[in-house]
Subunit: 336 residues, 2 copies
């Protein structure tokens, strides 16, 4: 890992944030590479980058939340395979205007998320950049041949999602409101819930493992919206899907905020992204078993929203059938 600028000082400060118990870590941050115990079973590897002005708004998100989210979005990818996260490394690009306390809080948020999901932050690289840039890679493990990929869905499998959808997109729209309207919204429970959905997403690690054990045939996390991500799962599996729109679990906060945000709650639930809920396909017996276990162990709902079919993406509601458009979440591009 490279260090530059007057940065050995920053690295030392960060090393203090990262010090302490770190399971599996033989040599942590500060050397050319971290040395860790190998993954058990098969190894999972993923990476996701967050950029100011694309994935977040530097002025609107607290550095601890941003640090946490940069870890969680990667952990969510490991969860979506049915695995356990083990290690993270971070490449950080910082404009010269960023001050040390902000960076320490950012790393504090990363560390807190790593503690919560039981992975170790083992190294990083810091560079000058025009915009705050956070690239995280997470390594996880999974028992051999038990990872759940996207390509195993078969016609007749039921389609299920964890939790509720649209909250993060609602939080994003809320954050773009005029300050006076934003202030009023934040005096309501639903307003705070929406911003929390955007800034403090949760990765469904135990839930993903439960779905894998129950016999999920395909699984992925919902980062770009149900419609878009389901179209990807279907493309990978070589099949189609029929979704009952009335059964889509729209976030209660989004329903409460619908008028203020001026959007159709169902539309946000289908096309809004960054919910990081899990989308899984499985047979009826497996779904029942997984639903019970998710409720009992995690207090999380699992909702059946449709069925895998031979081909095509179909939405069904009281008006009949129409094509489910795989519109995705394009972050800040059309929002501001």
């Amino acid at each position: 890992m490279r260090m530059e600028l007057a940065e050995d000082q920053l690295v030392a400060a960060v090393a203090r944030v990262l010090s302490g118990r770190a399971p599996g870590v033989l040599v942590g941050p500060g050397d050319d590479a971290a040395i860790v115990e190998p993954a058990r079973g098969s190894m999972l590897v993923t990476t996701d980058m967050l950029l100011d002005g694309v994935h977040f708004d530097l002025g609107a998100i607290a550095p601890t939340d941003l640090g946490s989210k940069s870890i969680v979005v990667n952990v969510s990818d490991i969860a979506a395979m049915g695995g356990s996260p083990r290690y993270a490394v971070v490449s950080l690009g910082l404009p010269p205007t960023i001050e040390m306390p902000w960076v320490i809080e950012l790393y504090g948020g990363m560390r807190a998320a790593c503690d919560e999901y039981a992975l170790s932050l083992v190294g990083g690289d810091t560079s000058r950049a025009e915009a705050v840039t956070i690239a995280v890679a997470v390594i996880g493990d999974v028992a051999p041949r038990s990872a759940v990929t996207r390509d195993g869905a078969r016609p007749g499998d039921l389609i299920a999602v964890t939790g509720s959808l649209g909250g993060a997109a609602g939080g994003f729209l809320l954050s773009r409101l005029h300050p006076s309207r934003l202030g009023r919204a934040l005096s309501e429970p639903w307003g705070r819930a929406l911003l929390e959905a955007l800034h403090r997403p949760v990765a469904r690690v135990g839930e993903g493992q439960t779905l894998a054990r129950a016999g999920a045939t395909a699984m992925m996390d919902l980062s770009d919206g149900l419609a878009k991500d389901l179209s990807r799962l279907c493309a990978a599996s070589g099949c189609g899907a029929r979704v009952r729109l009335d059964d889509v679990p729209v976030s209660a906060a989004v329903r409460a905020a619908g008028d203020v945000l001026g959007v159709d709650p169902l539309e946000l639930a289908l096309s809004g992204g960054e919910d990081y809920e899990l989308l899984a396909t499985l047979d009826a017996t497996a779904l029942d078993r997984a639903r019970d276990e998710l409720r009992e162990r995690f207090g999380v709902t699992l909702t059946e929203v449709g069925v895998i079919i031979d081909e095509g993406l179909v939405a069904v509601d009281a008006d009949g059938e129409h094509r489910l458009e795989p519109k995705g979440w394009d972050h800040f591009s059309d929002g501001g």
Copy 2:
């Protein structure tokens, strides 16, 4: 891993570049996470980010070279531990002005470097960004308890470096010359050698393993210049160093270019970065053995440049002793 924009098309194109033999890879790019065989022995993890305008100049480097370099600088960190690279993931930030063929060539360069160093490019994430941003993480392995860290140098150990130094910094200065002067320089073998040192660095993987087996007590790669990096090795090891300046292996191309570049070749060798040669400490017997093996197996020189002492950084030349200033390589910040 997240996908966005009208980007499934890009991802598909990239997947074609990345397809083919990939040792250890059970599921490659395209799912939430890659699934790979676990590391053997201990696992090494590193990450490095390259940013346009900070680490490279988009107009001056070919995309294949940039792709290759983004892998090589990470592989070099694995080499500096005495390990073997196994897997890479890439987070890529691209401005909308970048065209698809450029991205394909970039990935082609990454793939070629992965082939050369026998690692597998297993996944990635692509986002919109203001500037081209390439964050790579590489996972490697090393036999248990045989990784060479920075903190094992002891007084009396000899200090050695592989290859020659200053070439990449010379290439950087050359690239900033007026086009007419640059054109003349590139008609000379040393001009082409300097640009190649900057754009096509080599990671010393076999050499690092040889040094580890020979008994290196500490090792790191030279990314920020001998003076700065040696000061870091000494700080980690709790010791000092005495360097004989006349023995520092200054790049022949830098010596040839000295007048054109208007710099002291020795200064570039000490303070210029990005050479990605290895810096190691070891006893006299180990040094002799490693030197012979590096020459015979890799055609690479290993040069003794000084000795580890109790404390302080000392440079020795015909004028006597003076302090070795740990000045580092600050990329583009003072170069233009």
